[in-house]
């Protein structure tokens, strides 16, 4: 009986303290959000992201075995759409790093490098939309039939296919 009372007291104190801790966290979070330079907006545009991710629309995706066959026969140029740090840590052997927002600037370079080969864009994670974004950006620039290798990095690495490290 006594124990129950002690627990009740502790729970009561806990609720009060928890309220205070929550208020402090909110104050810190809101203040930091106000001053940080690399902040994300309070409300993100997730609705548009989900449609871009979930429907590939005009872009076609290829399977792991198709990707490997293209690689083996030197019939494709692989484009890594992830951030430069991930690329540096490891990427498909021979892949070129290019982020979707840079597609416009480097169209000519990519076309030269591809030399008529199939272009395949990839990213990492089933939800990652960068590969699709890159393919679409390139299509806008007039490079047609860019294919996407969804969740490319993880699947390639797990299959034990050739990878390499190095700066973009």
């Amino acid at each position: 009986m006594l124990k129950q009372k002690v627990f009740q007291e502790r729970l009561k104190a806990g609720v009060k303290q928890a309220a205070l801790l929550v208020i402090i966290s909110l104050a810190l979070g809101i203040s930091f959000q106000a001053v940080r330079s690399d902040k994300i907006p309070w409300v993100g545009s997730w609705a548009t992201l989900s449609t871009a991710t979930l429907s590939l629309q005009s872009v076609t995706d290829i399977s792991l075995s198709e990707a490997f066959a293209l690689y083996r026969d030197h019939r494709a140029l692989f484009l890594d759409a992830r951030d430069p740090w991930s690329f540096e840590e490891g990427h498909l052997a021979g892949a070129v790093h290019i982020e979707p927002q840079d597609a416009g600037k480097q169209t000519a370079e990519i076309q030269k490098r591809a030399g008529g080969r199939q272009i395949v864009a990839y990213c990492d994670g089933a939800e990652c939309h960068l590969g699709v974004d890159l393919a679409k950006a390139l299509e806008k620039q007039g490079i047609s039939s860019v294919k996407v290798f969804i969740n490319g990095w993880s699947r390639w690495r797990e299959a034990g296919y050739p990878v390499e490290k190095g700066k973009p």
């Binding site: 729970l11 928890a18 205070l20 801790l21 810190l28 979070g29 993100g44 993880s154």
Partner: protein
């Protein structure tokens, strides 16, 4: 034997150990998420539980709650409150994990790292979460604030 086990489970020294473990984990997890709000927002989005309008709000504010709870447990300030929030958070995480394990979604945990390339959720993550939940409950009810700022002030 039974009383011995009870005494061990309710020991304030055990609470101290749990506070150290939980406190460090919360601090680490919170800071990792504050550094990369976009990555954390993407993790939350992938869970497909929150409405779109609340995803970023959670990604911006939740890490700070984790840091404050971590600080509370480590320093021994308001540990009942810290442990109560920890219990609530681990319960919510357990619910989110369970729902998506049942749905069979292949998503990153987003628990201690915001990397999308981190391991996919599995029963292991749920077990880990439940262990931490039990630790929080122990601290909530049995902590005597050993090695704490609160005690230092009283001396």
């Amino acid at each position: 034997m039974k009383t011995k086990i009870m005494a061990f489970c309710s020991s304030p020294v055990l609470s101290l150990a749990f506070r150290a473990i939980l406190g460090s984990l919360f601090l680490y997890a919170g800071i990792a998420k504050i550094v990369d709000p976009m990555g954390f927002a993407l993790s939350i989005y992938n869970y497909k539980l929150l409405p779109d309008g609340l995803i970023n709000v959670a990604a911006i504010l939740l890490p700070w709650l984790e840091v404050i709870v971590g600080g509370s447990l480590l320093l021994g300030i308001g540990t009942a409150g810290g442990a109560l929030i920890a219990t609530a958070l681990f319960s919510i995480f357990a619910g989110a994990l369970t729902i998506n394990l049942i749905r069979g979604l292949d998503i990153a945990c987003g628990c201690f790292s915001t990397a999308a390339s981190g391991g996919s959720i599995s029963g292991f993550y749920l077990l880990r979460d439940l262990s931490l939940l039990l630790m929080s409950l122990q601290v909530l009810f049995f902590d005597k604030a050993l090695f704490s700022v609160t005690r230092l002030r009283k001396k």
